[in-house]
Amino acid sequence: MREPIANITLLFILLQIVCVLVALAYPNEFRYLSATNIGLLMKAIPTLGIIALGVGILMITGEFDLSVGSVYTLAAYVAAIVFTAGYPVLIAVGCALLVGIVIGVINGLITVRAAIPSFITTMGSMLVVRGIVRWLSESGSVSFRPSAEVAAIFTGSVAGIEAPFIWFIGLSVLAWILLHRSKLGNHMFLVGGNERTATAVGIASQRVKVIAFALAGLAAALAGVISIARVGTATPAQGTGLELRAIAICVIGGLALNGGRGTVLGIFVGACLLYMVEDVLLLLRAPGFYLDVFVGAILVGAVIINTWMTRRSSK
């Protein structure tokens, strides 16, 4: 029970069992197991889940990215604009992802070279990128409607599992390999755990951090592309608030705010848990303001439980 992830996974499974039992007992009143609801969940979780994977990797190296919400929107705009200009889908998606990586690298270089808190760097780039999106949106709304075969990559389904959710699972596996099984991932944990020591054993901690920033930007951009492929149009306000929700998912999933600790499974379960609670409230027809109240309460509750359990088991 030492690992925070064990607590949160247990909580998730318990909630899941309760919901399934209630849904089986009252199939008409509580449509948790209906195909529509499950499909909806699988489409809703990945957007924020993928962003949280990037934000989580960065958090493990000890840094934050508040610009992911803006990058998410900008990537959707870039994909739509390049595609509307007549270029193939592949180029449009490539440009959008590149923009995410470039913004991430700039965030990273400014943070490590100027040695300032990433909280500030990325709060600045959040506003700058948001401004660019506003400027782009002044020439009217943009749409991204690739051919049906291409769109299926982002919006289709395989054996009842929605494509975005397959993307989320696939990217989670990649993130798991990177963080828990690769040399670079080991360096990320060490840099986040104690940067001075990591540097003392010869790890290029600045480079590791810049790579993590780039991955956070890439993940946000990819989420933006998947989302616009599903919805078809981009609006300037759509990414607002995603950055804090992504951090909330990571914290619920047991990642330490000061870096060095966390698991990909935690991010995955955190994302599912957050949406599951929102979904249950919606199914119970709770008024909208309950959503924020519950998410806030879960965030603080999860951290209290994790801290308490970790402290107790280390005694």
Binding site: I177, V201, G202, G260
Partner: protein, 252 residues
């Protein structure tokens, strides 16, 4: 051929010649000379601010001297980074910062020197095997039954043992121990001092930087005493005693 081999044998493992270091207008070290011989444990002594830490930082590549020469086996070298000192076989064990607390023993052991299967994927099984073998057979620490325990769950002595096992495994020629006993219990200190003499038998030299003259006297073969950035005495263990060392440090 023979002459070269002889010369190499005669030259000290590491020699610092007339090293000076200034921070702005402050002279941290002034013409300090210091040698580490083969199979030798040298005690680097002195009161606070004597320049011990600066000397260690210069040897481990964290700081660069303002003037002076560094020779490894009689050949002039320059130590500008942690990588340079690692290449010369120098490993520094700081009292607290040698390991990352939140990471596991294995991940600390191989930090920056991970074994991979190619493509940057860690060979976890092999690394776990090596770590356990080193901990059980080289430093023989008890109470560690898994390489996955986070370092923060270990005692101060166990942490030192992990750092020492790492230095031994990566074929370090010289260990620089900066105040290694300050955070240890009496029993752990005993064990550490025993490790030092074992390491010497295996051909690893060590520099022991400490305030505790009793610990230093017990484990060192020779003492270099610093005061206000200058080397004031060099004494072999046979020609001195704890009280004499104490007098020298207090008097200057």
């Amino acid at each position: 051929m023979n002459a070269i081999a002889e010369q190499e044998h005669a030259a000290p493992l590491l020699e610092l010649r007339d090293i000076s270091k200034q921070y702005g207008h402050v002279d941290a070290l002034t013409n300090a000379s210091f040698t580490i011989g083969r199979n030798e444990v040298v005690g680097l002594l002195g009161d606070n601010g004597a320049g011990k830490s600066t000397l260690v930082k210069i040897m481990s590549g964290v700081e660069f001297p303002t003037s002076g020469k560094i020779l490894r086996d009689g050949k002039e070298v320059s130590i500008r980074s942690r990588k340079d000192s690692e290449r010369l076989g120098i490993e520094t064990i700081y009292q607290d910062s040698a390991l990352v607390g939140s990471a596991s023993i294995m991940r600390n052991f191989f930090a920056g020197r991970e074994l991979t299967r190619g493509l940057g994927i860690l060979n976890t099984a092999r690394m776990n095997e090596i770590v356990m073998d080193q901990l059980m057979n080289v430093v023989r620490i008890s109470g560690i039954n898994s390489p996955d325990i986070p370092v923060e769950a270990l005692s101060g002595g166990q942490r030192q043992a992990v750092a020492i096992a790492r230095a031994v495994y990566f074929k370090t020629a010289m260990l620089l121990l900066d105040e290694p006993t300050s955070a240890l219990s009496v029993r752990e200190t005993d064990k550490l001092l025993a490790h030092l003499s074992e390491l010497k038998e295996e051909g690893v030299s060590a520099v022991f930087i400490t305030h505790n003259l009793y610990h230093a006297y017990e484990s060192c073969d020779r003492f270099t005493i610093l005061s206000r950035g200058r080397v004031i005495r060099n004494l072999a263990k046979a020609e001195t005693s704890v009280s004499e060392l104490n007098d020298i440090i207090v008097k200057y």
